[in-house]
Chain length 380, copies 2
Amino acid sequence: MGGARDKIETMSAEVTDENPYSRLMALQRMGIVKNYEDIRKCSVVIVGVGGVGSVAAEMLTRCGIGKLLLYDYDTVELANMNRLFFTPDQAGLSKVDAAAETLLNINPDVNMEAHHCNICTVDEYDKFLERIEHGGIEEGSPVSLVLSCVDNYAARMVVNRACLKLDQAWMESGVAENAVSGHIQMMLPGRTMCFECAPPLIVADGIDEKTLKREGVCAASLPTTMGMTAGMLVQNVLKYLLGFGTVAMYLGYNAMDDYFPTMMLTPSGTCPNYKCLELQKKYEGWDMVSSVMPWKALEAAEAADREVVHEANDWGISCDDDEPAIDWGESAEPAAPGTGVKYAFETNVNEQVAEEDLVQVDADASVEDLQAQMKAMMKN
Amino acid sequence: MGGARDKIETMSAEVTDENPYSRLMALQRMGIVKNYEDIRKCSVVIVGVGGVGSVAAEMLTRCGIGKLLLYDYDTVELANMNRLFFTPDQAGLSKVDAAAETLLNINPDVNMEAHHCNICTVDEYDKFLERIEHGGIEEGSPVSLVLSCVDNYAARMVVNRACLKLDQAWMESGVAENAVSGHIQMMLPGRTMCFECAPPLIVADGIDEKTLKREGVCAASLPTTMGMTAGMLVQNVLKYLLGFGTVAMYLGYNAMDDYFPTMMLTPSGTCPNYKCLELQKKYEGWDMVSSVMPWKALEAAEAADREVVHEANDWGISCDDDEPAIDWGESAEPAAPGTGVKYAFETNVNEQVAEEDLVQVDADASVEDLQAQMKAMMKN
């Protein structure tokens, strides 16, 4: 490992075409991010270094994250070899220690903490809280983000409680027992649904969490679905930490039909967790865009500033704003097809209307009237 | 490596909770796939073992693929360390040799061919054709599928020509220069658009391919986008080879807004490649569902068979078919939210209508009439 450490150009080295950092800094040159170097100031806790967590850790390591704090009580098993990251020769080692060694070999510049423990125990829970609160880049500062990559209900509850207690932003992830669906979810205490408002995995994948860890039952798993979920998660982490694009509040993945739902899940006013209710009060009237994506609010403000109103504007000339409207659904339009590309189905908006299809429209008819009439008919 | 080989339970070993194959076979127990073991009979050529190809190869290896044939002329560089898979100690090695060693260490049961060559040269092109045609599981048989994971126009053209010549199914993949979008595409000669009908990457990502490989310009790249693209690709490979779910004919990924467009791209009647035109004639009138997804056609037929018509059915009882309709767009509906989950926006389909909103509907009005009237109004 020492050899590799000497060999690799460290992330903080000069940016040249010979080192990996130049390809990351290119994001800045292309205007995707404002300051890629900021990733060195970020620290991320990963709870659960399994099928999703290990790949998420590798992605963050290769992106040059400042600090990673890994939590897992498990050891590597041969049964894990159908997921990415761990190798057969690591069987028997603690997952966090094996992961830390692999990750430091890839990028020795990451400040790595490996915690081989179960955060669901009383002692370890207190130490876990302490690291979230004080384990940031500058010792004593809080971490930037917590990622839950666990596979059971109890651990999710613990992460949820810890993050509610500390008002700490976190992201949840999960893969269904049948291996063909997954999801990620942004968790902002008091502002988005917490895990006690409604257990996210059950909402997301329509499966009963209790069945996930049935004794003696082996859940299916695929490296593809695990890799996709890790990719969705870390992409969202990069967008949130470095400030670009649209941060997903919830992003699902259904592999069977390539369906990727997005949504916003608001907290429940009857959540049994009093910290959640307390924080809901604290954040009453919060604005998602300006809070989660200040760069979007800034862009909108800058666009508004550019709308110079000339005092003498006799011709009433105005400029169209070509910034797309912010939208949380699946609204983006596919680009118009190039030459040789055909739509699978044609629309008939611009086609000639045959004589027999012509209809008479009342002179005083309005679209609203017709819509109302149609709606009334539909109900009958 | 020998130690690891001795240690790992091989994929063909007995299925127990201790080996990785049991988690893959669980897909069968759960009814996702009919016969997971069929993956052992499949062979896949991967052209380009870079950011997407190396991860795709690892996913297929961990899924227990029968045979992999890797093609790449490049060597591992430290500049690649911001993508997944390769490690700094492999710098300087040929990509295919380094990949083959890592992959065989993970799963020694895969029949692995590493071709360190440039398929764009005349000699290597002929050998490449020979391997597609005769490099399958049983020597002499064709491979199951070819994956293009290259980063340049010339190599895509070569894969396209080879697969047109042999009428070989392949899948194309690509990541944009700005690192925040990617796509995969199913290529069936004569049935879907070929690379000469319209260069897929240009259609897909709206970027000029020539700018991709500008001398001295370093394209951005992220392990997240590369991992997502590899995940989308291999998930589609599994669906196509093992026969489950909906095979994507085209699946795009825009990381900025988590937008995943799907579409069907038909071949061009004015394609400059005569083999494409020839195959378009051969496959005239082909049916996508019965050809690409026979399991879907079978399911539909079985569902139709289940519609037993009782001779005496005085009450006119019939059963609803609860199979979802096949759909190529983004049509799947999200599951209904559970308790505590709220929609971000409410629909008003079922709400009470206020007195002043009530409208009178002509007794002889039809929905078609109203639609025609509205359409006519829209045009005015």
